[in-house]
């Protein structure tokens, strides 16, 4: 069997019992990258020589755990010592850091093999941009379509079988959007749960780092290594890390889940216009997914929060203001270095005032308190993710990031753990919802996501391009 078809859990088992070597697994992924990534553009750098060398060392080493010998990708905003890290920008086209991102330090110590750096929207916001040196990644379900972003390359590589897992970052939905459009699992952990050290910032108070995987169990395995206190990240929280995999169950008996329907059933069109309307297929898939949760024993209750736009506009204003402050000097002195989308989207920050920013963070506090109160009565919340199939990659408005509804941004604002899980298909393209939990209760959202996944088979559907290579 082609070992690239295995989940992390399956590959770990095979490596542990000696039936699979980290070298063979790494070579299988590298062969797939060589054969398929010319069409998908999910990598901006492939470590063709270094990855097998690492795998050979691991093959001769004592096992370090479930990630021993597992090949992964890193979004190209993660610093990698001695390996080019561009943030998807001309500005850093030749940038070779002399330090590693904290997440990569942890994953490397756990025995993962770095296959390469994944394509990202410029500075995790400006894309898909055809004016940049790197071609935008393509959706493996249909390469004419958008894979979402900004962790586009990471999600495409996982969905297409070009790595076992990858790291993304999420400031307004950049892990969960790509997870949704690519039919995989993506977790934005609680703010402070996974270190941001060594990851190029977009917005200091909204940035989160997290994994993209094929299954929820794989996500739990990755989180076991990623979660933990980092005294060098000022926002890192010194909070105990539970056994995520042990929390996975098949039933949800006794759980009470709050369903936020008004965001997608009413607020999206009322506040953002007809272009933000959910598709009919999405509405049906969301309802069916809720019925599945109910069939697993969960009690569902409708949850009403403030209007979606209150959350989304506060999130976007804070993000644009913080990102502009970070890049202001370059906007003034070397604007030609930016791609079109990055310049246009973050350039809006030049016209925000200090009072705008303060009012947004006052609103943020009100909404955080509202959401905390809402969670008092339930174990977790279920909300829509992208409410339709991926659009064509050549039909995206430059200002879609501020023009249209977002269902992910609210949970960057609250800092809550939020897991994207596939819930169906429309026009051959994947659909997803989010499971959102209490602060630092990633174990609960993973438990719910795993039970849902085991009761459905959406995670077993993979794009045709993910099939084994001929002869494998």
């Amino acid at each position: 069997m082609d070992p690239s078809q295995l989940t992390i859990a399956e590959a770990a088992h095979a490596i542990a019992d000696g039936s699979l070597s980290p070298v063979a697994l790494t070579e299988a992924y590298l062969d797939r990258i060589a054969a398929l990534d010319g069409e998908l553009h999910s990598y901006v750098l492939v470590l063709r020589d270094e990855a097998p060398a690492t795998a050979r060392v691991l093959a001769a080493s004592p096992p370090r755990g479930l990630l021993h010998g597992i090949p992964i990708g890193l979004k190209d905003i993660y610093k990698t010592r001695g390996v080019r890290s561009t943030a998807g920008s001309r500005r850093y086209l030749d940038h070779v850091p002399n330090e590693d991102a904290a997440s990569w330090e942890r994953l490397r110590a756990a025995g993962t093999v770095l296959l390469g750096k994944n394509e990202t929207h410029e500075f995790a916001i400006g894309g898909p941009d055809f004016t940049l040196p790197f071609a935008p990644a393509r959706n493996p379900w249909n390469t004419a379509h958008y894979p979402a972003g900004s962790s586009s390359g990471s999600a495409v590589a996982v969905a297409a079988g070009l790595c076992a897992a990858a790291m993304g970052s999420d400031t307004g939905g950049s892990i969960r959007g790509p997870a949704a459009y690519n039919g995989i699992v993506g977790l934005k952990p609680t703010y402070g749960r996974v270190s941001r050290r060594g990851v190029f910032p977009l917005s200091y108070t909204l940035d989160h780092c997290g994994p993209l995987t094929r299954t929820v169990e794989d996500c739990a395995i990755m989180m076991q290594v990623l979660a933990g206190y980092d005294p060098q990240d000022p926002a890192s929280a010194d909070t105990p890390v539970p056994d995520y995999r042990a929390a996975l169950e098949r039933r949800l008996d006794g759980l009470r889940l709050g369903i936020v329907r008004h965001f997608h059933e009413h607020d999206a069109v009322a506040d953002f216009g007809a272009d933000s309307a959910p598709s009919a297929g999405y509405l049906a898939a969301f309802d069916a997914a809720c019925r599945t949760l109910e069939s697993l024993g969960a009690q569902l209750v409708d949850l009403r929060l403030s209007p979606l736009i209150d959350y989304v506009d506060a999130n976007r204003l804070i993000m644009i203001a913080e990102a502009y402050a970070l890049h202001e000097k370059d906007f003034q002195e070397r604007p030609q270095d930016f791609g079109h989308h990055m310049f246009a989207r973050i350039g809006l920050g030049a016209f925000l005032s200090a009072a705008d920013y303060v009012e947004a963070i006052r609103q943020r506090r009100e909404l955080c308190l509202e959401f905390a109160r809402a969670l008092d009565g339930v174990d977790a919340v279920v909300a829509a993710n992208a409410t339709g199939p991926a659009p064509r990659i050549d039909a995206l408005p430059t200002f879609g990031t501020v023009e249209r509804a977002s269902y992910t941004g609210p949970f960057n604002l609250t800092g809550s753990p939020a897991l994207s899980v596939p819930i169906g298909f429309e026009d051959g393209l994947p659909l997803a919802f989010q499971i959102v939990g209490r602060p630092f209760d990633e174990a609960m959202v993973l438990r719910i996501g795993h039970a849902f996944e085991q009761a459905t088979d959406f995670h077993n559907h993979r794009p045709a391009i993910a099939a084994p290579l001929p002869g494998r």
């Binding site: 209150d310 506009d313 644009i320 246009a344 809006l348 947004a360 006052r362 943020r364 506090r365």
Partner: protein, 66 residues
């Protein structure tokens, strides 16, 4: 959402104040998109108690804690 696009003369003042040197195309694109800034500015302004704190406050541990 504001119905009217900000006049070019007024927007030029904002651009000058921000210290940006825009091409004609950049100027026009950002001018057209300025309505999104206005929407966000309006969206985060609402009647609030003067004591309503921003999100970024700090709670220090109580003294004497073990």
């Amino acid at each position: 959402m504001p119905d009217q696009t900000i006049p070019a003369e007024r927007f030029a003042i904002l651009v000058e104040r921000a210290g940006l040197k825009l091409t004609a195309a950049q100027f026009e694109e950002l001018r057209q998109a300025y309505r999104f800034v206005q929407r966000m500015q309006k969206s985060v302004r609402r009647p609030r108690d003067r004591a309503a704190e921003p999100a970024h406050i700090f709670v220090h541990p109580r003294g004497g804690a073990a």
